[in-house]
């Protein structure tokens, strides 16, 4: 939008910055028509709680500046905008677990979270596990050593779910870990091997 145009249509009493923020917030093109027609009252855009589109996310310990639509899911932002394609979108409905990431250490389905809702929280994806020098995370090493997965599509989700679970129970029985990762599906039906590998990873983590 051209600056002078913004000045002429600026609703009364708003600073230019506030106005830009509100246009961004309403997102849909059709909604800005509503702003044009509104006189002094700019409608919902001036409401408390309006979201800005250009936000900063904390992903894998880095601050990432990103333009996020109101209706965007965290899976879309991470994969399509930040290039973090480790997480997979299997069902996009919270029914498979392949998009699991950690939000403040808690495993969540990135397909079913609005990106705006994780502002100010620490996101960890599978890309954030290995050290900068390339050394694998002990959980990853366990999976590699046991050749835990067959096709591997569900692996990033399983790793993140396991990591989140181990934060609450670092020394689980096999049964407890199975329950901990029960929100993750493997279409290869490789659960037995996966559990063996994750148990080995958990053991590696306790040794470190």
């Amino acid at each position: 939008m051209h600056a002078s145009l913004i000045d002429t249509i600026r609703p009364g009493g708003m600073t230019r910055r506030q106005f830009i923020k509100s246009v961004i917030a309403v997102g849909a093109v059709s909604s800005s028509g509503f702003l044009f027609s509104g006189p002094a009252d700019a409608g919902p855009s001036t409401s408390p709680g309006t979201v800005e589109r250009l936000i900063t996310l904390n992903v894998n310990g880095q601050r990432r500046r990103v333009d996020v639509l109101p209706q965007e899911t965290l899976a879309q932002t991470l994969r399509n905008k930040l290039g973090l394609t480790g997480l997979k979108v299997g069902c996009d409905r919270g029914e498979c677990g392949s998009c699991t990431v950690l939000v403040d250490t808690v495993p969540q389905y990135a397909c079913s979270l609005l990106t705006h809702s994780v502002r100010g929280k620490a996101i960890l994806t599978v890309e954030g596990l290995a050290r900068a020098d390339g050394k694998l995370h002990p959980l990853q090493q366990g999976v590699l050593d046991e050749q835990g997965f067959q096709c591997g599509y569900c692996a990033p989700g399983f790793l993140m779910a396991t990591l989140g679970f181990l934060a609450t129970n670092p020394n689980p029985t096999r049964q407890e870990l199975a329950h901990g990762v029960s929100g993750n599906l493997c279409r290869c039906q490789d659960y037995d091997k996966i559990l063996t590998a994750l148990m080995r990873g958990a053991e590696n983590m306790r040794k470190e």
């Binding site: 309006t50 209706q71 409905r93």
Partner: protein, 334 residues
């Protein structure tokens, strides 16, 4: 019927940080606004274009809606408290273990980490015709595809209280809250009220288009557990196809006050058998004052009384009978 598309259609998003701001927004946006909690009942329908709200009010940034606090001898649970927190909270576990168990039985760990207690009881039905956008009675149309069509797929549908619509309330926590005589705090832009959990849920005889009394712009802010059933004898069991993810085919939440084996008082509530949690009042009356070992068989025969089964869901009446027996005896192997 999950068709994966590029994303959700656009909506305006608001993330107020206080209940007051949320109510003001809800008041102004009226029926255009959708209240968002954990999103597990909402985003899926936005993705499928079944619901297309113009605005979404996300309650996730309102701290006062989260957490569990004591108020005198009551426990008050914020509507946005996650199901994981509800299932683990020491006070809830110690005094109202029925609710902890019910919350732990919901869906999967990740869904419990994000899904909220308020959202779990305010969720809509999972009838797939309705969820797929078919214009049935519940959606304002003129038929019920599940119950009235000869090809209707109704294995998961209601056996009690159906009128026109045979959909069920799929919540695992709702029957537990009814059994515990929970009180629900509801706020709207004009004020607030507190109602019994039992009166929150709505059958098709009352309103065929919704499962609870929340009007547009109304918010559930908290769930109050009065001391009435604190530390009682509880039984919760959920029968589902898989132990994870799947909604209950039938669940039972029972709260009993016992003297030895004599049942002084009980609340026996079935879930997923009707559009609202289904209290078995006749059974409660029949077992009062009786030794549970003596009365369990008779109660079991009485439980399905009044059930009207559909071609594919007769098994639910059998499950109801068996679950009542197990609940009264407190024995999963009974």
């Amino acid at each position: 019927m999950a068709i994966i598309r590029d994303g959700m259609p656009p909506f305006d998003l608001f993330r107020p940080t206080s209940v007051g701001d949320a109510l003001a927004l809800a008041g102004r946006l009226g029926a255009d606004a959708w209240i968002l909690a954990g999103g597990f009942d909402s985003l899926e329908r936005f993705k499928d274009r079944i619901k297309r709200p113009k605005a979404v009010i996300d309650l996730g940034a309102i701290d006062e809606l989260r957490g569990v606090r004591r108020e005198g001898s009551d426990l008050v649970i914020g509507a946005m408290t996650t199901l994981t927190e509800v299932s683990r909270h020491p006070d809830i576990r110690e005094r109202f273990g029925l609710l902890s168990e019910a919350a732990a039985a919901v869906a999967s760990p990740q869904i419990r980490n994000q899904g909220t207690l308020g959202g779990n009881i305010a969720q809509d039905t999972r009838c797939w015709y309705y969820r797929s956008g078919w214009t049935c009675y519940r959606a304002g149309g003129g038929t019920c595809f599940a119950g009235e069509s000869p090809q209707g797929q109704n294995r998961e549908h209601a056996i009690f209280g159906a009128e026109g619509c045979v959909a069920v309330n799929p919540s695992d926590t709702a029957p537990a809250l009814v059994a515990l005589e929970a009180r629900l705090l509801i706020k709207n832009p004009k004020g607030g009220r507190e109602i019994a959990a039992e009166d929150f849920f709505v059958g098709p005889d009352q309103d065929i288009t919704r499962l609870n009394i929340l009007a547009p712009g109304e918010m559930l802010t908290a769930i109050r557990l009065p001391a009435t059933w604190s530390g009682a004898t509880f039984y919760f069991e959920k029968v589902s196809d898989r132990p994870v993810w799947d909604f209950p085919l039938v669940n039972i939440a029972a709260a009993m006050r016992l003297t030895g084996d004599r049942i002084d008082q009980s609340h026996l509530v079935l879930g997923a058998v009707a559009a609202r949690p289904w209290r078995l009042l006749e059974v409660e009356a029949a077992v009062a004052g009786r030794d549970r070992n003596d009365v369990a068989e008779a109660a079991s025969r009485l439980a399905p009384k009044g059930a009207v089964v559909l071609p594919q869901n007769g098994y639910k009446a059998v499950l109801a009978a068996n679950l009542i027996k197990r609940a009264l005896l407190g024995n999963r192997d009974a």
